[in-house]
């Protein structure tokens, strides 16, 4: 499989809707400090089912919703959609293209969709089991986190190695 598109709306610093298209190979994201690059990595983590607020650098659930700025009002919800090319059938669903969507409201209410069909968070997590994608995996290395692969205590590394072996 490969990622085709990421749609961000109201997620962290993305008050205006942004669509990023991805292609096989290497996509580089560049820009000044504080512009929103790591927020894009957070968005991918989040839509794939990340449950730890701390690992998204937040203190509470609603920290992922655009909080407003000097000139803009806060938004009421955040939504991220990730569209995946599944022509190789890597994901166990009978579609060539799969879009997963996650939405959270200030009330704390959450909604999840796979190809526009409402589902639960665990259905999304289940979908990626065994692919190396997800919080126990090694497919998303956050900023400042590359050393952790080495500094983890020997017992803690097991989770990673069991995913691999």
């Amino acid at each position: 499989m490969f990622l085709k598109r990421l749609d961000l709306y109201g997620f962290k610093s993305f008050a205006n809707k942004l669509t990023l298209e991805f292609f096989p190979g290497i996509t580089a994201i560049v820009g000044p400090n504080g512009s929103g690059k790591s927020n894009i990595a957070d968005a991918i983590k989040w839509v794939l089912g990340e449950q730890s607020v701390k690992s998204l650098r937040g203190l509470k659930l609603e920290d992922v919703i655009f909080a407003g700025s000097k000139k803009l009002k806060p938004l009421g919800f955040a939504e991220v959609s990730l569209t995946i090319d599944n022509s190789d059938n890597c994901l166990p669903l009978d579609y060539n293209e799969i879009t997963i969507t996650r939405r959270v409201f200030r009330s704390g209410e959450s909604e999840f969709y796979i190809n526009k069909t409402s589902c639960r968070l665990k259905d999304i997590i289940q979908l990626f089991l065994g692919t190396g994608v997800g919080s126990e995996g090694y497919s998303i290395i956050g900023q400042g986190k590359i050393d952790e692969i080495l500094s983890a205590r020997p017992e803690d590394r097991r989770a990673l190695f069991e995913e691999v072996a």
């Binding site: 512009s35 803009l72 497919s139």
Partner: protein, 154 residues
């Protein structure tokens, strides 16, 4: 089950040593089962010896050497069990120019089997990307995307 793990572990170990040698231009590295008698429970140790240097604890390695060793382990894992895509946020930050070039060509080679999305400030890493997105803050303090040419990107 235990046999499967020990076998995969040994494959990963060989892969780690190979990748480490390529990235460091020599030296050697290993992953070891702390207690080989209990492969499914024991902790996993990492050993790294840059070329020409004496084997010492990981903690004594430099910032850049630690990062490059971790990158070697990541690539070793990807060689053994590639993920479909990989998001890397500034993992090249501590590398000097010689090392970031080596990292970038590694990325290029592995990108045949794995789709990479890399956040970076380093020119060498930008140069191996087929697609380049620039993100900036508007004066309304919200993020937007701009098209980027490589000369102005770093």
């Amino acid at each position: 089950m235990q046999e499967q793990f020990v076998k995969s572990f040994s494959v990963l170990n060989k892969s780690f040593n190979l990748v480490f040698e390529e990235l460091f231009g020599g030296g050697k590295a290993e992953i070891v089962l702390e207690d080989p008698e209990k492969p499914l429970e024991t902790g996993i140790g990492i050993i790294a010896q840059p070329p020409g240097k004496k084997l010492q604890s990981l903690s004594l390695l430099s910032g850049g050497e630690k990062a490059l060793t971790a990158i070697a382990l990541l690539f070793a894992i990807l060689r053994v069990k590639p993920t479909p895509f990989c998001v890397l946020d500034e993992i090249d930050a501590s590398l000097d120019d010689a090392n970031v070039s080596r990292f970038a060509s590694f990325l290029k080679n592995y990108s045949k089997d794995t789709q990479f999305i890399v956040i970076t400030h380093r020119k060498a890493t930008m140069e191996v990307a087929e697609t380049l997105y620039g993100i900036t803050m508007e004066d309304t303090a919200t993020s937007k995307m701009i098209s980027v040419k490589l000369e102005e990107a770093s």
